[in-house]
Subunit: 258 residues, 2 copies
């Protein structure tokens, strides 16, 4: 069945959504079938794939809180082989709505296990919000692997132990098959010493867990969402697109899927 | 008494902490007495002002959940006139710990009202986490003004209505004196069209609420936290420091405090 990968980091603005969108797109472009789940109330992954705000209908909130099926809420995107389960506006209130629901942290896992498409898809990619609350917890319990984007900045480096400790706690108590699959360095800027210091520090501490592929800071990456397209579609030749294509290849290799 | 200003935006990585640290520092440097409250479990504001992780003792979690007084938990910083109420490690679990506590959203306001230093300080600046959960809610209920840092990027622009709508909802139901004081454009990069498009859009929509002062993208700003110093101390002549000094002057002017 599909490999379920959560893209998570409580530090904000490190490139979670950008990585989720473009990794999913690169995997689909390579012929894999992929579902992207937008678990962030901001709904940036839905926007970045061209889904207008008022055309999202029932989405992940309806699945988590109202018993809708995954099959009934996923949508096609402009990319063949890639579908999305969008973030509906009510997702902002999910934490409050689910307070007294039993098994509230497992709702996403239960919904995915009940989906008959799980066995025919290759990947499910989950974009998490910048917090360690109930929504991210649902993502970590539904996933087998966590990919942690790490911006090459000091505050992001400082926060890396919070997410790795959370992954370990979830593994021990709630989801024994969860692993820290890897760390991806993002917004790497070779003109800036800080990027190298952070990259060295992270490789020194996490060794092979850190992906060879680094995502460079590249203006075309931040322009793409305003056109409702992944950067792979917006400007395939850009350094950002090329890095995400390499990232997808390295992911497939590391998972031994060739 | 002190003016209480929350620095809030659910979008991650837009410069909330950087603005909180450097605005507080610039106000203290201009002779005002300032308390900075670190309401983010990441604890980046505490780090950015040089407080080692293992020297934070009882902090804001102890105030919110264990009844500690503000006077007993605030610390001096390396900047005269600026003290900090740090984020203690347990803050990550605050949402869970406070679930069944009555008045949980008003704990910060109650603690500030009981603090005898409120009348002798000029400003209380609150750094909020990247979410609209219980901690940010505590910040919005304790404050009179909200300053929203807005990164000059598309996803950040997309999210601006979420925070402005939340401010309006809190004003109507929980804190009638709360206002959207202003929006500050951050990481403005004049070499990049996107920055100008975002700036024009925001000024078109929010008019005078948008500060004249823009904070430029400046590498010295992101280097400063690794030295445990605000950029004003790390490199006073840098474009980042100069912008934060102008921001503090504009804030004082807009609040009619001259
Ligand atoms: N490689 C890159 N080069 C340039 N800009 C980038 C790059 N990756 C991401 N960005 C931009 O940086 C900002 C933050 O990225 P993104 O929104 O993907 O992070 P996030 O971790 O999902 O944020 P949040 O914590 O709010 O969910 C966005 O405006 C995005 O367009
Ligand atoms: N003007 C600037 N120029 C360059 N880098 C900046 C600037 N402002 C902030 N940064 C860097 O950008 C990153 C994000 O800023 P910061 O952590 O202050 O945002 P935040 O909104 O507090 O993030 P979070 O949502 O995680 O709390 C940090 O690494 C910071 O050093
Ligand atoms: Mg995101
Ligand atoms: Mg912050």
């Amino acid at each position: 069945p599909a490999r379920v990968i959560a893209i998570a980091n409580q530090k904000g603005g490190v490139g979670k959504t950008t990585t989720a969108i473009n990794l999913a797109t690169a995997l689909a472009a390579a012929g894999r079938s992929v579902l992207l789940i937008d678990l962030d109330p901001q709904g940036n992954a839905s926007t970045g794939l061209g889904l207008a705000r008022n055309a999202r209908g029932h989405g992940i909130f309806a699945v988590l809180a109202e018993g809708y099926a995954v099959a009934d809420t996923l949508r096609e995107t402009i990319i063949p082989g890639l579908s999305i389960l969008p973030a509906d506006p009510e997702l902002t209130a999910a934490e409050i709505e689910l307070v007294n629901v039993s098994g509230r942290e497992k709702r996403l896992r239960t919904a995915l296990e009940a989906w008959d498409g799980l066995s025919s898809h290759d990947f499910v990619i989950i974009d998490c919000p910048p917090s360690l609350g109930l929504l991210t917890l649902n993502g970590l319990i539904a996933a087998q692997d966590v990919l942690v984007p790490l911006q090459c900045e000091f505050f992001a480096l400082e926060g890396i132990t919070q997410i790795t400790q959370t992954i370990e706690a979830v593994r021990q108590r709630l989801n024994p098959s969860l692993t820290l699959h890897g760390i991806v360095l993002t917004m790497y800027d070779r003109r800036n010493n800080l990027s190298d210091l952070v990259a060295e520090d992270v490789r020194g501490f996490f060794g092979k867990k850190v992906y060879e592929t680094m995502i460079p800071r590249n203006i075309r990456v931040s322009e793409a969402p305003s056109h409702g397209k992944p950067v792979l579609l917006y400007d395939l030749k850009s350094p950002g697109s090329q890095a995400y294509i390499r990232l997808a290849a390295e992911l497939v290799e590391r998972l031994g899927l060739r």
